[in-house]
């Protein structure tokens, strides 16, 4: 499988601050959903900014789809990447929803006629076409994130980076947005990197990278990462709900020889246990 992003031995620090990354390396496979997890301040968002060329590396290199992240390639690289941030309010520029989605296309001097088609298609993609004349500020949090995603889809990137994109939403809005991104990912063959401290969001990823104090401390499929509940707790993240339940059951004398199962498998196990007696 091709690595669409290669992070090679990078070091970085903000001015007057200690090294945030010291010789960090990791790869993102083309077409995968990669979750980057770690607590606030662990360096997750900085990594996204380095990939998008918003901050400059001290050492090492980052290669996005064959292009080295540097001044010369930066515009091409940004065309390949769409970023959705935590607070959608920080990313609105247009007076209406439609204008806002058109903004990125105008910037790229897309022909007017074609632009209308793309905006319509993108807004329909996220189920926000009916809201095209509304003022972005008057939308709900989930609706705002949909518009932000439409703005990104309009530019047809290869990679979408979700930087805590669902953390301001209620649980339902969160699920809606994740389902939407999953749909768009499948339809457009995208690579998704989701930066999150929500374990349940990470559970839906193909692969999880755990970052702590700027270091990659683990990298594996969700099942393996979540089985290590001690590690999760050590770095200030919650164990997934199912792991917490398995631990609570153990406390009541009901033992499962595993620390993690996804909901479906845990339900099947409990059901069997209850009916076998």
């Amino acid at each position: 499988m091709k690595d669409i992003i290669q992070v090679k031995n990078i070091s970085f620090n903000y001015a007057d601050q200690p090294l945030l990354f010291d010789n960090l390396s990791l790869n993102v496979h083309e077409g995968e959903w990669l979750a980057l997890i770690g607590q606030n301040g662990s360096g997750k968002s900085t990594l996204a900014r380095l990939i998008d060329g918003l901050n400059v590396l001290k050492q090492g290199q980052i290669i996005v789809d064959g292009l080295l992240v540097n001044d010369e390639n930066i515009l091409d690289i940004r065309n390949k990447i769409g970023m959705v941030f935590q607070n959608p309010e920080d990313q609105f520029v247009g007076a209406t929803v439609e204008d806002d989605v058109a903004f990125g296309l105008e910037n790229r001097q897309v022909d007017r006629e074609q632009m209308h088609h793309i905006v319509e298609r993108s807004l329909k993609n996220v189920n926000m076409w009916d809201f095209r004349d509304r003022i972005p500020a008057n939308l709900s949090g989930g609706q705002k994130q949909r518009v932000a995603i439409a703005g990104i889809v309009a530019l047809s990137p290869q990679i979408i980076i979700l930087d805590e994109a669902t953390s301001m939403l209620d649980p339902r809005g969160r699920q809606d947005i994740l389902n939407l991104v999953r749909e768009i990912k499948a339809k457009n063959h995208l690579t998704v990197i989701s930066i999150t401290h929500d374990i349940d969001e990470a559970a839906g990823a193909d692969r999880v990278v755990v970052i702590n104090h700027g270091k990659k401390i683990d990298e594996d499929v969700p099942d393996k990462i979540f089985a290590n509940t001690e590690q999760l707790e050590q770095i200030g993240l919650d164990a997934p709900y199912t792991s917490q339940l398995i631990a609570a059951l153990k406390g009541k004398g009901v033992n499962l020889n595993q620390q993690y199962l996804d909901s479906e498998r845990l339900i099947a196990w409990i059901k069997q246990l209850v009916s076998n007696k």
């Binding site: 607590q39 606030n40 301040g41 935590q86 993240l237 709900y241 339940l245 609570a248 004398g253």
Partner: protein
């Protein structure tokens, strides 16, 4: 128990007397007892924020009256008289760290009391005890608030509210965007302010596990109306209704519901992980039959 706050048939209309007039609160009556921990839940746009903004007089009722700590606000209350309300009602908005602006942590926390005419020395004293209350080390006092971590910045913002020594504290989604550790710290702080410092806490939240773990009273809003008031157990007893309100169940109730759906006879939905584990272990011991 004394009441800290009461709403009597309060209606609030945004842009009243214009074609855009919209009722954000419709005939709301509510009592919040002194030293209670009240959670206000409801989907986005249900009127939660409009409701709490009446408690610290950021909004006045269009109709009806609001009573806070013995003082009454109606549509006729002059704006000049509203300041007195706010001194006793601390409001922590969403992402309060966005409102930090001073050069140092201590100056930022002192800003509120000074704004109410407290002397420099007294404001500093109040700021120091507020820092202690929220668990910020004294060594941070002279640092720039912008050099702190997200969780610490949020605590500085909360300390700024607490330095005014409010009797009522309103927290509007205080943990949004924080990681699990930061989340727990802020919620434990709210509980401590309630238990040890006898404050009346009002929590606006989307997190149903917090409602179960912290609140003594729950208010559910929908379309500008209060549709149910009760304990967490009463509110979550009817999952169908909860979903209809576009809300979620607490994690354990949600998981239990999935077990019920797959034929495990859980009975009444448990609200906490401990209750659920107890129920499952009983079923295993009894050897219950699953109904297919």
């Amino acid at each position: 128990m004394d009441k800290a706050i009461s709403f009597e048939q309060v209606t609030h209309t945004y842009q009243a007397n214009t074609p855009y007039a919209q009722n954000a609160l419709a005939d709301v009556s509510l009592v919040i007892p002194n030293n209670s921990f009240t959670a206000i839940i409801g989907h986005t746009g249900s009127g939660k924020s409009t409701l709490v903004q009446h408690i610290n007089a950021l909004l006045k009722p269009t109709k009806g009256s609001v009573q806070v700590l013995g003082k009454v606000i109606t549509s006729a209350t002059t704006n000049k008289n509203l300041k007195a309300f706010r001194q006793h009602v601390g409001m922590v908005f969403q992402f309060p760290e966005k409102q930090l602006f001073e050069e140092t942590v201590i100056k930022d926390i002192m800003f509120g009391p000074k704004n109410y005419g407290v002397s420099d020395a007294d404001a500093q004293q109040a700021a120091k005890s507020a820092m202690k209350l929220v668990g910020l080390d004294e060594s941070l006092a002279e640092k720039s608030p912008f050099d702190l971590s997200g969780g610490q910045m949020r605590r500085v913002a909360i300390a700024g509210v607490l330095a005014m020594k409010p009797e009522i504290l309103i927290l509007d989604e205080p943990t949004a965007g924080l990681d699990p550790r930061g989340h727990k710290e802020i919620m434990d702080l709210a509980q401590q302010l309630h238990d040890k410092d006898q404050m009346t806490i009002i929590l606006v939240t989307h997190q149903m596990d917090d409602v179960v773990n912290y609140a003594s009273q729950v208010v559910v809003m929908d379309e500008g109306k209060i549709v149910k008031t009760g304990t967490a157990a009463e509110i979550f007893a009817d999952p169908g209704w909860v979903y209809k309100m576009q809300l979620n169940l607490p994690s354990s109730a949600e998981f239990a519901q999935k077990l019920v759906d797959s034929g495990v006879p859980i009975g009444k939905l448990p609200l906490t992980i401990d209750q659920l584990a107890t129920k499952i272990s009983q079923l295993v011991a009894e050897g219950a039959d699953t109904d297919e």
